[in-house]
């Protein structure tokens, strides 16, 4: 029983990170119809920025994260600007453009910070809590709290603010949205920036959990993407559920199948998607050519 509970705890903490990554994927897909293949590497950039400000500049962790989110948001602006001419003309090229940006981001990270990477100490020095024999890291609770806040904030933004509603309108029909006076380019830029900000949040949070290196975007991106698809690509609650599900699934697969855990995780994922292709909360909000 203890192994079972501990496995869930372990899975949920990484799952929260995957959920944040999945949120970014789903948001950009929901509003632009674009799968941003650079997303994993944006997470990596966020992780590096947050850890640089936290370790080298010695800012408090929260402040370092905030700066990282802002700077990474700017990276998102640049990417969207560069890809904007392709937006309504050649969708596939735009997709490939994001892959290209991913490669560029990784190369730039190696140029700036070197290939080796760095370990980030936890900002919460307290010992793990012991609840009925199950150990819970205090930092994991922080991650879960931040992820929950971010989700609530995002949902409120999309549903209660004018800009958020405008973003959803652009997703449904960008020509009608333009007719209503919504600047599609700016709206997409905002979506990209928020997506990048979420990625930076995920990256900054995951630094103390794992190890910051230029190649960390790969696994996080894939698992986050799988989480987003599992929950229903484009669905915000789906991204959360899917991300945490992938984290827990991964943890259990590692416990039972040891060396074959990755295989099992993705086989289960494939089976679920084959049975229900639109994912758990599947909705078809985007109507793109």
């Amino acid at each position: 029983m203890q192994v079972f509970l501990q496995t869930i705890i372990g899975g949920v903490s990484l799952g929260a990170i995957y959920a944040l990554v999945a949120l970014g994927f789903s948001l950009v897909y929901r509003t632009m119809g674009l799968v941003n293949f650079a997303h994993g590497n944006v997470v990596m950039v966020g992780a590096y920025l947050a850890s640089t400000f936290y370790l080298s500049v010695r800012l408090p962790f929260g402040l370092a994260m905030l700066i990282a989110i802002v700077v990474t948001g700017l990276v998102g602006v640049v990417i969207e600007r560069v890809l904007r001419p392709l937006e309504h003309k050649d969708f596939d090229l735009m997709l490939i453009g994001t892959i290209g940006f991913g490669v560029v981001l990784e190369a730039v990270a190696v140029l700036i910070w070197g290939a080796t990477g760095r370990a980030v100490r936890s900002p919460v020095p307290a010992r793990p809590l012991d609840i009925f024999g199950v150990r819970v890291r205090t930092y994991d609770l922080l991650v879960l709290a931040v992820a929950a806040l971010a989700t609530v904030g995002l949902v409120l933004f999309l549903q209660r603010t004018k800009r958020g509603a405008a973003m959803q309108a652009v997703a449904m029909d960008h020509e009608a949205a333009t007719a209503l006076g919504i600047h599609v380019g700016r709206s997409n830029a905002m979506a990209f920036v928020i997506g990048a900000g979420l990625a930076a949040l995920a990256g900054g949070l995951v630094g103390p959990l794992l190890y910051v290196s230029p190649s960390m975007g790969g696994t996080l991106g894939i698992k986050g993407f799988a989480g987003a698809v599992l929950g229903g690509f484009g669905s915000i609650p789906g991204a959360i559920v899917g991300g945490i599900a992938i984290g827990v699934l991964d943890s259990f697969a590692a416990g039972h199948f040891q060396g074959y855990s990755e295989l099992v995780t993705f086989v289960v994922f494939t089976v679920i998607i084959m049975v229900r292709p639109t994912g758990v909360f599947g909705e078809r909000t985007v109507n793109r050519a």
Binding site: V3, A115, T116, G117, A119, R135, L210, S213, A254
Partner: protein, 384 residues
């Protein structure tokens, strides 16, 4: 129709010509520049310069460059300078095999690297066919199993590391309650098999034997299972970053038992990733216990620090030794290539930072390691 027949004939002739041309060119036969003549002696350094294992590549490059720099400053070999070129294999065996063909076709006489056993094993057949000697930092017993006369190791194999470790843990310290946690990559599997064998020969059965994947990030399940068995010691068989994460998570889960391991446990990356407090008391089996271990080590560490501003460690020392051996062999064989160079390497006796090198037929030159314990964030030698 006549036009159609002529078209078919033309296509067939072109195809036949292409096949003949391909068959006529010998595989990678562009041995122009450095084959026993003039011009710089070209040596390739192939390692992961990107990806999670890139720290190994960076260390190896620094060690190799230091050695080459010393020789070039002393005049090179027979008046020829040594040219070191770097290739990034990204820790990927497929990229490695492509690079093997590349260094063959571009006239490199020897290769230093890789630090990743799986990539080295993948490159071995191509290098054997091209007759390019390769001195690798890998330590997997799988390298010996390749049985290539052109493959040499610049350190002991996992078998040696783990035999020495098991001897210390079981015979000297009397610890019999041991858990294993290893990954299923080439290095981890080699460590798992070597340590299990060393334990079996002492009639010790591990209380837990958990295998994780190389990319795994969360080890809760494996570590909780181990915790329930209450081992006195946990053996680590994973690379620097992964084993650091394992230790960090183990301490978070309330596991207080000390850890033990081989080469990765002696590196600063392992210490930083796990946290210095968490690795206190880790038993390390390594032929290079620190920069103060001997006069040669001090001299090497000082030169390394002066050149790169960083502290030297095991992998840099291994690459330094390996490159020194290669350069010595090049000198004694008068800048030979191919089989002659391989034979020269095999007959080179060298006293290096890791010990006395004397290569046997299997390509292994060093057969002993030492035991150290991490105390106060530093590796301290255990008195034998």
């Amino acid at each position: 129709m006549i036009r159609r027949r002529r078209y078919l004939a033309a296509v067939t002739c072109t195809a036949a010509a292409a096949v003949v041309a391909a068959a006529c060119s010998a595989p990678g036969s562009d041995k122009s520049s450095s084959a026993g003549g003039s011009g710089p002696i070209k040596i390739a350094v192939v390692d992961a310069q990107s990806g999670q294992l890139s720290s190994l590549g960076a260390w190896e490059l620094k060690g190799a460059r230091l050695a080459v720099g010393e020789w070039n400053k002393a005049g090179g070999i027979n008046g020829r300078q040594i040219q070191l070129d770097v290739f990034d294999d990204q820790g990927d065996p497929t990229v490695g095999t492509t690079l093997a063909r590349k260094i063959d076709s571009e006239g490199y006489v020897a290769m230093i690297g890789t630090a990743e056993s799986a990539v080295t094993i993948a490159m071995a057949p191509t290098l054997r066919q091209a007759e390019i000697p390769n001195i690798t930092s890998g330590q997997s017993p799988g390298l010996v199993a390749v049985n290539s006369p052109f493959l040499f190791l610049n350190g002991p194999t996992s078998t040696t590391y783990d035999e020495t470790l098991a001897k210390y843990i079981v015979d000297k310290k009397g610890i019999k309650n041991i858990a294993l946690i290893t990954n299923n990559g080439s290095f981890g599997k080699g460590e798992h098999d070597a340590f299990s064998k060393a334990l079996a020969s002492r009639s010790v059965t591990p209380v837990a034997d958990q295998v994780v994947t190389s990319d795994q990030k969360d080890f809760s399940a494996a570590l909780t299972t181990i915790r329930q068995k209450r081992p006195q010691l946990i053996f680590l068989g994973a690379e620097e970053v992964e084993s650091g994460l394992i230790v960090k998570q183990a301490r978070d889960l309330g596991i207080t038992a000390p850890f033990a391991g081989a080469a990765p446990q002696g590196t600063p990356v392992f210490l930083d990733t796990a946290g210095a407090a968490n690795v206190e008391g880790t038993i390390v089996s390594s032929p290079y216990l620190g920069n103060d271990a001997s006069d040669a080590a001090r001299k090497f560490a000082a030169a390394y620090k002066a050149a790169y501003g960083q502290d030297a460690e095991l992998h840099g020392a291994k690459a330094y030794d390996g490159t020194q051996i290669l350069l010595t062999a090049l000198k004694t064989s008068n800048a030979a290539t191919g089989k002659a160079l391989a034979d020269a390497i095999r007959s080179t006796k060298y006293t290096g930072l890791l010990g006395n090198f004397a290569y046997d037929d299997t390509g292994v030159g060093v057969f002993a390691t030492a035991i150290g314990t991490i105390t106060g964030g530093k590796l301290v030698a255990e008195s034998a």
